[in-house]
């Protein structure tokens, strides 16, 4: 019974609408009204953000927390880290708690990089001597040595991010709660962050990790909890939970996807995807995609203003959330030089989609100058049907892996034999 985290029947209720967060006038009017008319105030409307959550986490466990936006993941994290209190139930977390719900909390524009490291570090719960001791490594990690004594109002957003994460990476609490902080920054930075997270996870500390990045969750956590509508939907082995979670997304069988109504987005919002169409090579809507088929996807977007040097990408994930490929304009140096304000579209052609049959999940993004404008996770599910890619009638099958190539085996001369027996199927 040496749990690290024990959550017992926790529920959290929020008031909808203005609620108590109104004006003094309303409070007075309400009081006066009650006094005069003796009429009870009907009370606010409620929403249960968390509904009877119970869980236990052992010391040193690394647990992933997944679920759609608004499912209650972040609220749970806030309750665990004592930022907000449960309406009912109890939470017991042992040891020093660190929570990282955002990178660079408490940064002040007017303060220098160094000063902000102290500020941010102490807000995250570090002692001054810990910050003193870690300062060298933090500067190293953030890679902003020559700017440490410059006010951070002169920093680029990337530099701020690096500095913020550098501080967080040196938090040495017993328990650490991390919310979707990897979703920002460029790929290189994300990789660095993930590496740091892995180190934390291996360091024997308890880590609760909220993310939409299934690959990151799978990579870091053995155990994952799926939260849906404020309840624990599934709690168990990461692979099982992720698979079940991803399967809960409706398949993208409509070949034209309207993206305007999707609230789960990240980025500046200067560019927004509005529609995505799956086409065949003749530009008609494609209904069934076979392994090895060409794939054409047309993205429609909307720019808030003229956007120079706009990059697009489509990420293909396996059903376990492993990133198979990020197909983007950056590698082919095909940025849109200037996307004018208003609607626009761009097409992606993949010559041959060499993925084994199965379900794949697509994420799409738009960015410029290392800044994401729109990021949509799990925007569509792509089901690939088996095909006779090699023209042998044997097809490609899911059990052969994730991807396949055009390949050829050439036996050595001595093995050449006229009447070779028909080969048995591979196991």
């Amino acid at each position: 019974m040496t749990h690290s985290i024990l959550v017992d029947n926790v529920s959290k209720r929020f008031e909808l609408g203005e609620g108590r967060h109104g004006m003094l006038r309303e409070a007075i009017m309400r009081g006066v009204g009650r006094l005069w008319r003796r009429k009870a105030w009907t009370g606010p409307e409620y929403k249960w953000a968390l509904n009877d959550i119970s869980l236990q986490v052992e010391p040193g466990e690394v647990v992933g927390l997944i679920g759609r936006n608004g499912a209650g993941k972040s609220t749970l994290l806030k309750v665990l880290s004592r930022i907000t209190y449960p309406t009912s139930g109890s939470v017991d977390v042992r040891g020093r708690i660190g929570s990282l719900l955002e990178v660079g909390t408490g940064f002040h524009d007017e303060l220098t990089g160094r000063e902000n490291v102290y500020m941010n570090g102490s807000i995250l719960g570090m002692r001054k001597r810990e910050i003193d001791a870690a300062m060298g490594q933090i500067v190293e990690f953030a890679d902003v040595r020559e700017f440490m004594d410059t006010p951070i109002k002169r920093y680029s957003s990337g530099m701020r991010l690096r500095l913020g994460f550098a501080v967080a990476a040196h938090l040495s609490t017993d328990v650490l709660f991390v919310d979707e902080v990897l979703a920002v920054g460029d790929a290189g930075f994300q990789k660095k962050c993930l590496g740091t997270m892995r180190q934390i996870g291996q360091g024997g500390r308890t880590l609760i990790f909220v993310s939409h990045n299934m690959a990151a969750v799978e990579n870091l956590c053995k155990r994952t909890i799926w939260i849906a509508d404020g309840r624990i939907k599934q709690d168990g082995d990461t692979r099982d939970v992720i698979r079940a979670y991803l399967n809960s997304f409706g398949a993208a069988d409509a070949q034209t996807l309207d993206l305007t109504g999707i609230p789960e987005r990240q980025g500046t919002g200067l560019v927004r995807f509005v529609k995505m169409e799956f086409l065949d090579s003749d530009g008609r809507e494609q209904h069934v995609v076979h392994c090895g088929d060409p794939l054409r996807v047309r993205f429609h977007y909307d720019c808030q203003r003229d956007m120079p040097d706009l990059h697009f990408g489509m990420r293909i994930y396996s059903n376990l959330g492993v990133l198979i490929s990020d197909v983007h304009t950056w590698s082919t140096a095909q940025a849109v030089p200037l996307a004018t304000k208003g609607p626009g579209s761009i097409e992606l052609d993949i010559e041959s989609l060499n993925l084994m049959p199965g379900s794949y999940y697509l994420g799409i993004w738009a960015s410029s100058f290392n800044e994401y404008h729109d990021v949509l996770h799990n925007v569509a599910k792509l089901d690939l049907e088996p095909s006779d890619f090699y023209g042998t009638g044997r097809g490609v099958e899911a059990r052969f892996g994730l991807v396949f190539f055009s390949f050829r085996w050439t036996p050595g001369t001595r093995a050449l034999c006229e009447n070779a027996p028909a080969s048995a199927e591979p196991r």
Partner: protein
């Protein structure tokens, strides 16, 4: 006051210090005169009040040079008014912190009171210079002067806690507080002595603890007289009461800050 809450604040004392340090840093960053502003603000008010109240209206000043009398009053009053104005908004202006990280919320308003102390100390150094200029030297009662400063800080923190918590729910206080501060300057013996108020209203005056602290501090610092024990006791008692009230209310309200703010 429960022990756990106090222990928690003690654990986070460094954060409180960092908040105060940030306040000070930011306040005087890119200001050429820096902390000199702490002196200049009450000094400017003093000049105006000396002209209009001291010279024109001939307000008495208990036999002290009016500029010195007014300056000492204004220095303390500036501390009180600046801190409660800033502390009152400390939670709402730092809403991003309140919703993103855990720390004892008291740290925010308390750090405002702490950072204000720096200005107070700088201004008090100037008071000493002023005293030399007028040839006024303290005698034994000065030993009691710190008591009034402590009382004032206690009262300031109590008021700050109340206002900060209330502002989370009712942003009206953002507008009310500066207005109240302005009006209260005239119902507190800052620029006039308590003796200026008719005797029978005087106990009423001292229900405002700031009246007792200002009078007491001035008497101890600038005259060889001892402060009035009854009035001092009333002021201290009210200050302690406000502090306890503020603390209790804040503790109760604290749990909902992140949800409401």
């Amino acid at each position: 006051m429960n022990k756990a809450a106090l222990w928690e604040i003690w654990r986070y004392r460094e954060l409180m210090y960092f908040f105060a340090w940030r306040d000070v840093k930011v306040r005087y960053k890119q200001a050429a005169l820096g902390a000199l502003w702490a002196v200049l603000q009450p000094l400017a008010s003093m000049v105006v009040f000396t002209l209009f109240f001291g010279r024109l209206a001939k307000i008495p000043s208990d036999g002290l040079p009016y500029p010195l009398f007014a300056y000492v009053g204004l220095v303390l009053w500036t501390y009180f008014s600046a801190v409660i104005t800033q502390a009152g908004q400390s939670l709402t202006t730092n809403a991003n912190l309140v919703t993103k990280v855990y720390f004892p919320r008291v740290a925010l308003p308390a750090s405002s009171a702490l950072s204000g102390l720096l200005d107070l100390v700088v201004s008090l150094v100037f008071v000493v210079v002023f005293m030399f200029y007028y040839g006024i030297y303290p005698s034994w009662p000065i030993l009691l002067a710190p008591l009034f400063l402590v009382g004032m800080v206690l009262f300031t923190i109590g008021t700050s806690l109340l206002l900060a918590a209330l502002t989370v729910w009712y942003r009206d206080f953002k507008y009310t507080v500066p207005l109240m501060v302005q009006l209260c300057l005239f119902v507190t013996p800052v620029i006039y002595p308590a003796s200026f108020v008719p005797e029978r209203y005087r106990p009423l005056l001292f229900l405002n603890p700031m009246a007792g602290f200002l009078e007491g501090f001035r008497t101890c610092l600038l005259t060889p007289r001892w402060p009035d024990p009854t009035l001092t006791t009333i002021s201290l008692a009210v200050a302690v009461g406000v502090f306890v009230l503020g603390w209790a209310y804040f503790q109760r309200a604290e749990r909902s800050f992140a949800d409401v703010i």
